[in-house]
């Protein structure tokens, strides 16, 4: 089971309220980001720190960027045709939270 599997299981559980889902998402997110090995690189940037609090992931690093990067309500993986996890609808995902950080960094204006 990957963090994404856990995430989707919560997502599909219609017996949960939005509040309960959010709390479970927060737990899954915290566990997933805890596994990330630091430092790692996103393009020319070095990611040196990750801290998770509630629905927020604080990412610190070195390089030209408006640090810190703060991610609110973020997922634990991103969709990608070459992803290593397949959702029930057939879409492919990267299960690594590093991809989430990379996506957020690359989306920055």
């Amino acid at each position: 089971m990957t963090a994404l599997d856990d995430w989707w299981a919560v997502e599909a559980d219609h017996s949960l309220t939005d509040y309960e889902k959010q709390a479970l998402f927060n737990d899954i997110r915290a566990a997933a980001f805890l596994e990330v090995q630091l430092p790692f690189y996103v393009d020319a940037l070095q990611i040196t720190g990750i801290a998770v609090s509630g629905n927020r992931v604080d990412v610190s690093g070195l390089g030209k960027f408006s640090w810190p990067l703060r991610i609110y309500n973020g997922p634990v993986g991103v969709t990608d045709p070459d992803g290593n996890v397949t959702k029930a609808d057939g879409s492919k995902w990267f299960s690594d939270p590093i991809e989430v950080v990379a996506q957020c960094i690359r989306s920055a204006p």
Binding site: E11, P68, I71, Y72, N73, P75, T79, C104, A108, P109
Partner: protein, 559 residues
Amino acid sequence: MYSERTLTTSVIYGSTIRGQNIQYGPLSKSPDVTAATIGLASPFTNLSTFLTTKVTRTRFTNSTGSTTNPTATFSATPANGSALIAVILRTADNTTTTLSGWTQLSNAGAGGVRQAAVWWKRAGVSEPTVVTATNATAAAWNMTIIEYGGWATLADPVSISASATVSSTANITVPSTGMMAGVCAIVNGTGSWTTATLADFIGNNASYTQFAATTLANCSEIVGYNNYEDATAQYTLSGTPRATNRLVVGWPHNTISGTAGSLYAGIEPNAGSLAGQVGIEFDTATIPALNTVSAATLTLKSGTSVTWPSTATSEIFSINSTAIAKTASNTRTLWRTPTEVAALTKVATRAAGSAYVANTTYAWDSESAFISNINQGSTTRLLVATSEQRTGSLAGSTQTYSVSDTPGNHFLTIVHDRLVTIPTVTATASASAPGRLVAYLRTLPTVFGNASPVISRIASLLQSIAASANASPAISRIVNVLRTITASAEASPVITRIASLARTITASVQAVPGIVAAYQPFSVQLPRVVRLPFRAIVALSHQTRARISQRSTLRLPKE
């Protein structure tokens, strides 16, 4: 004291998404409402009217009996063009009920299973008020006839959830995809369910009206949010399970269109039509109102469809004051007519003819107005539409695109900064023979007290990180009050007094070569010279032992 700007990049994933496709309901294209129905073709005349038109119930009648032919009578002649619905619920189930001139939408009933059937008809000129069905056998029946106007005069009703058998006490939620307005019915009977109720699905707050609620039958109307959005009915059954039938007919809502997992924006002018707008909500309460937003980007994830408008531009508009979440209000909210869209502030675009791959994230091009429409300290809401929906012009081909129906697949990236006033970062105090020097530091590094030749006292009050008090050559007193991490107080060659009050981690007090008086524990085996002032009294308490050894000297006054 000085000020500086601190930059932060916040990425905020969507919290709510709503899509509305006014032309037809979910996955049902027969019968659908074509572009011609609502006048999307030039000159685009009916769209504005359509967007504000709801399904409206004009009247209804419920009758019960136990004869062969169920019948009911409208209180007035139905208007020409109205949609008429007739629901017949019977305890006898092994004969066919017919309703001449009406079209049956759904029917189920067999030996041992009670019958639920529904018909509809477009009212003509001088439509009869009396509606009579026929059946070969007598049995208890419950008949409801309803007249619908408004949007129902343009679109035909469909079977949303076909009549089907219920044989357990479990709650049954129908339809899972919701509806604009619908008539829901379940047949009951003595000796089976003790209750067979039908209600709006918990939490949805759609409006709900009961036409019939007897031990035999329950027939109710559910009207969706804002009349355009989804409602979901739930049967609650208790008592002894017995096979019976339930059904839902009406006008499908338009919350989700096309392929599951996708919401569509744009207009398709041809049959099988789509005309969607999507609202997305982001919780930007985490961006303080006092901060200055310097950049903002919207990233949307495509749905399962790969189509992208060839001539229309994707346009994103600010609708911060528009609620996107479901409400019990019956007022139209998300949908905008061309005139209304044109009055909104455009915050982002994506060009016609752009590449678009399914299940892929794309960053939209931000307009300069985007940063001022980030609703700092509150919620930012955006309308996903097209240039056609703003101008009212219409291309001959489909100009739609899909986005994921999962709000967390879309995100806003916001760079914001804040003017921060820092009380003191580094303090340097240089003085020529001041009597006293006091530095209060709240952050980071070091306080230096450099004085020549003499400072009588240095007091450093530091709250964080690192601190040192350096004095040369002579300071009569240094006081360091440190709360964190590292502290040192150094003096050379002579300090009258050093006191370090450090709470954490590391603290050191060093003096070379002589300290007159220091709060250093005497357990530290360092040679010390302790000079007592003239006429000093050294009182040794009970059992106190003073040891003078090796090269120590004790000089006492001659007296």
